[in-house]
Amino acid sequence: MMSERNTEHKAYVRRVPITWWLHNRRYFLFMVRESTSVFIALFVLGYLYQLFLVSRGAEVHDLFQESLRSVPFVVGYAIVLLFALYHSITWLGLVSKIQIVRIGRLTVPPFLVGLGAYLSWIVASAVVAWLILNLK
């Protein structure tokens, strides 16, 4: 009687240098796109800290608010904004490639789907801006 063979095999994983993404422009841009999430996470955590300071009283909150006007913070926010914009542009640009929109028997052209995604970004930004400026 034949003994039962172990048919499980370890998957072959090709070893690649950690810097593989620096060797090709497309790979580099892919990694830049992935890294946008780090800057966005840092921003929301910093914003959470600002919100937390509201619970510590007016003096602490306004002092921190004042420090946000220093050059290092302004440069930091400018960098975060660049990465956040890159995320928005690439993310919304993907919508027309992955989302097929059908209305009845009509398939909406990908160009219009993409346009809708970018328009929704503009509308959402305008609404938030209005609320920040006017909400009481």
Binding site: W21, I40, G57, H61, Q65, L68, R69
Partner: protein, 118 residues
């Protein structure tokens, strides 16, 4: 043998939701919170304590801020996990799943706490 991970759809769903929130809402917030006041584009009283305190008294504002903070954390957790994996890093003391998704879950708990105490 391939083992089905039943939690995977949840993490992908949170990644997508966070990506949409980050794409639509984060740039405008970064601009107003970090750049508009230093460049003199808006009145600094808009971000001062008394206004923030009265805005945060509104439960709808808290729900909005919860989504604004938490969903991008899940988005980032997912992207960081896969980016590190693609760079050949499989674990840093703990598995990447625990570190990244655990971090996002911890961020959720901290956000809940902050929004409840203010």
């Amino acid at each position: 043998m391939y083992k089905e991970d039943r939690t995977e759809p949840f993490w992908w769903g949170m990644f997508s939701l966070g990506g949409v929130v980050a794409a639509l809402l984060i740039p405008v917030h970064v601009f107003f919170i970090g750049l508009a006041v230093p460049f003199g584009l808006i009145d600094e009283s808009l971000l001062e304590y008394s206004r923030m305190k009265s805005l945060l008294a509104n439960p709808l504002v808290k729900v909005y801020l919860f989504a604004l903070v938490v969903l991008p954390l899940f988005h980032a957790a997912h992207r960081i996990r896969f980016s590190l994996h693609e760079m050949g890093i499989r674990r840093v003391l703990l598995s990447l799943d625990v570190l990244c998704y655990g971090g996002a879950l911890m961020g959720t708990a901290v956000t809940l706490y902050v929004l409840l105490v203010i």
